[in-house]
């Protein structure tokens, strides 16, 4: 492992997302802490990539062009985040509430931190190989190598002219491989190493953040409960992989693959943000956060388009019934509409057919 790249990994995978997240949280008037800024900073990055990346892929621009445009946007958001942080760091609203920790809080926190470190170490020193990487990871390798996006057959390495075929068309509308290629290029890391060894740790931090925030949402002021929830969740992940199908299996085995990221923290993030919307149904800013998360889900995988849309539809309907507020459903269903746009584009690119090879998604 070339550890000389560690400062660049920290910059692109930790610092930049955190400052972008500070900007996002400030604009959307969210509580600013490490978990919210890191998670929603990454979500913002992926949402931006979905918005600009899909048209650029369709227009067959070079990867270099996308890199420049994406970097300018992320750089602008990051600088804005840094300036806001400098300006507001002494703001009383941003001060971390000092709370006296009881011994049970410390006990649970120690378990949580130890459990997470143990998991991170295991994911670092172990490997799981998956044949799906012959498309997901190799797409990123070829993007860096050829400076084109999805115009190379990852199975052979030969150039192609039509990416609206078979499985490759899914990557056109969910260009997660472009993100892997982007961070690989910006840090000078081989795309396979980036996916398998570096991004794993960054994405597991997103899992940690979303679970902490879920704990914060449902257990509010109890540090013991928040830490216990995260610890128990990670323990269940490690000991509860009953087959290779459930979300926890995908989380541990191949989180760098878009569909696995959806299972790992995308779906929990949708539940998280929707829970916030339920508490403040008239707050449009929480809805915008939901749309950012949905766009990130679409970026990860066409499965994200399906699941994100299904979740917005189901959660919106459930909340509208429970709160007796139809407008609440409509606001959440805008997330469904976002997914519908990409779903429609995907179907149209497939000649109006639901079928693409054996299955749709």
């Amino acid at each position: 492992m070339d550890w000389s790249k560690l400062p660049l990994w920290i910059l692109f995978l930790l610092m930049i997302p955190t400052f972008i997240g500070y900007f996002t949280c400030h604009v959307l008037k969210l509580k600013k802490n490490v978990a919210t800024t890191y998670l929603f900073g990454n979500m913002t990055q992926w949402a931006v990539l979905q918005i600009i990346g899909v048209p650029m892929v369709l227009l067959r621009t070079s990867f270099t062009f996308l890199t420049i445009v994406y970097s300018v946007i992320l750089g602008g958001l990051c600088v804005a985040g840094i300036l806001l942080w400098i300006r507001h760091k002494n703001d009383p609203k941003n001060r971390i509430e000092k709370k006296k920790l009881e011994y049970q809080d410390i006990f649970a926190l120690v378990l949580m931190i130890a459990g997470y470190i143990a998991l991170a170490v295991m994911l670092a020193i172990k490997q799981h190989t998956d044949h799906d990487d012959s498309r997901f990871v190799v797409n990123a390798v070829d993007i860096v190598r050829t400076d084109t996006m999805f115009l190379t057959n990852p199975a052979t390495g030969l150039p192609i002219t039509d990416f609206f075929k078979q499985e490759l068309v899914r990557d056109v509308f969910s260009p997660n491989a472009v993100y892997i290629a982007y961070v690989a290029r910006m840090t000078g890391t081989h795309a396979t190493i980036m996916a398998h060894s570096v991004l794993v740790q960054s994405l597991m931090l997103c899992v940690l953040a979303v679970y902490w925030l879920l704990g914060d949402t449902f257990f509010k002021k109890s540090v013991f409960s928040k830490a216990s929830f995260v610890f128990l969740a990670f323990l269940t992940m490690v000991y509860g992989c009953y087959t290779g199908y459930p979300a926890q299996a995908f989380t541990l085995f191949r989180i760098w693959q878009g569909k696995a990221a959806i299972a790992a923290f995308g779906i929990p993030a949708v539940f998280l943000v929707c829970s916030w919307i339920y508490d403040e149904p008239t707050d449009w800013k929480k809805c915008i956060l939901l749309y950012i998360v949905i766009l990130a889900m679409c970026q990860f995988s066409t499965m994200g388009i399906m699941l994100g849309g299904a979740m917005c539809g189901g959660i919106g309907l459930a909340y509208a019934i429970l709160k007796k507020k139809p407008t609440m459903a409509l606001r959440i269903w805008i997330g469904f509409a976002i997914c519908l746009v990409y779903f429609t584009a995907y179907i149209m690119s497939n000649g109006g057919s639901l079928y693409n090879g054996e299955t749709l998604f």
Binding site: K126, Q127, S134, S228, F229, P246, Q248
Partner: protein, 256 residues
């Protein structure tokens, strides 16, 4: 697809998802019921949407129309068993007033998870091996690729079996005749390549035919998964043995 067939297929996928024991799936269902009954916040914000979505996902009529055409079992991810188990057990632990009982409850819950489950990182689970390199591809793949790339930094390769899924992960400079598209994934194959691939992978081609093809199409390397060295045949077509890597034999094209 008839309705009984749809129900049968749904049952097939549920049992496949749950596996032989599926105990954690049942624990997740129990956790969901607990949260429905005892946690108002979770009931409203998470469980009711999950119940509503489950009514859609587990609907045989919708399976007939839509879910049979997609990767159905991925919709079970909406169940989020890790979240439900975590929330239920944490809620249970938090109901005790005394701190030491809470800690004890947490330890008991953790012990229960450990005893009922299996550590996925244990070697006997067959899911993980020790990381061989930062690339985290199979060690055999890495060794084969290193030999080939040391010989030619831009090789064109015919390679058999599962290594073709990983060689291009190690280096995008490797061009292959076929990869996982041979299994029907990724991208459609050229019919002529498909014909060769079918014969080659199922052992229906003679060594002479393989090397003839490789020579005609100017492949720089051919890698077999075979015990037999066939140097004399290879030499007739301008190839020689480059290296033997485990059970793999790598031939490279002679210059000129």
């Amino acid at each position: 697809m008839t309705l009984p067939e749809a129900v049968e297929r749904m049952g097939f996928w549920i049992s496949r998802y749950a596996g032989e024991s599926g105990v954690f799936l049942y624990i997740a269902l129990a956790a969901g019921i607990y949260l429905l009954l005892f946690s108002k916040q979770v009931r409203i914000k998470i469980m009711m949407p999950i119940v509503l979505m489950a009514m859609v996902v587990l609907n045989p009529i919708l399976y007939q129309i839509l879910f049979s055409k997609i990767i159905y079992w991925r919709f079970f991810w909406i169940l989020q068993d890790v979240v439900l188990i975590g929330l239920a057990l944490t809620d249970l632990c938090g109901r005790f007033k005394q701190g030491w009982i809470r800690c004890l409850c947490l330890l008991l819950c953790s012990g229960g998870i450990v005893l009922l489950g299996t550590n996925v990182f244990r070697p006997e689970q067959g899911r993980f091996i020790d990381a061989d390199s930062p690339y985290k591809v199979d060690p055999e793949t890495r060794e084969v690729c290193e030999v080939i790339l040391a010989d030619n930094p831009h090789p064109t390769l015919i390679i058999s079996n599962w290594l073709f899924s990983e060689t291009r992960q190690y280096s995008g400079d490797i061009i292959q005749l076929f990869g996982r598209d041979g299994d029907g994934y990724i991208y459609e194959m050229d019919p002529a390549v498909r014909a060769f691939e079918r014969e080659f992978r199922f052992g229906n081609m003679s060594w002479e035919e393989v090397f003839q093809y490789a020579m005609e199409h100017n492949f720089t390397h051919v890698c077999f998964y075979d015990r037999y060295q066939i140097d004399d045949i290879a030499e007739q077509y301008g190839y020689e043995c480059l290296a033997v890597v485990g059970p793999r034999i790598i031939y490279h094209q002679l210059p000129g």
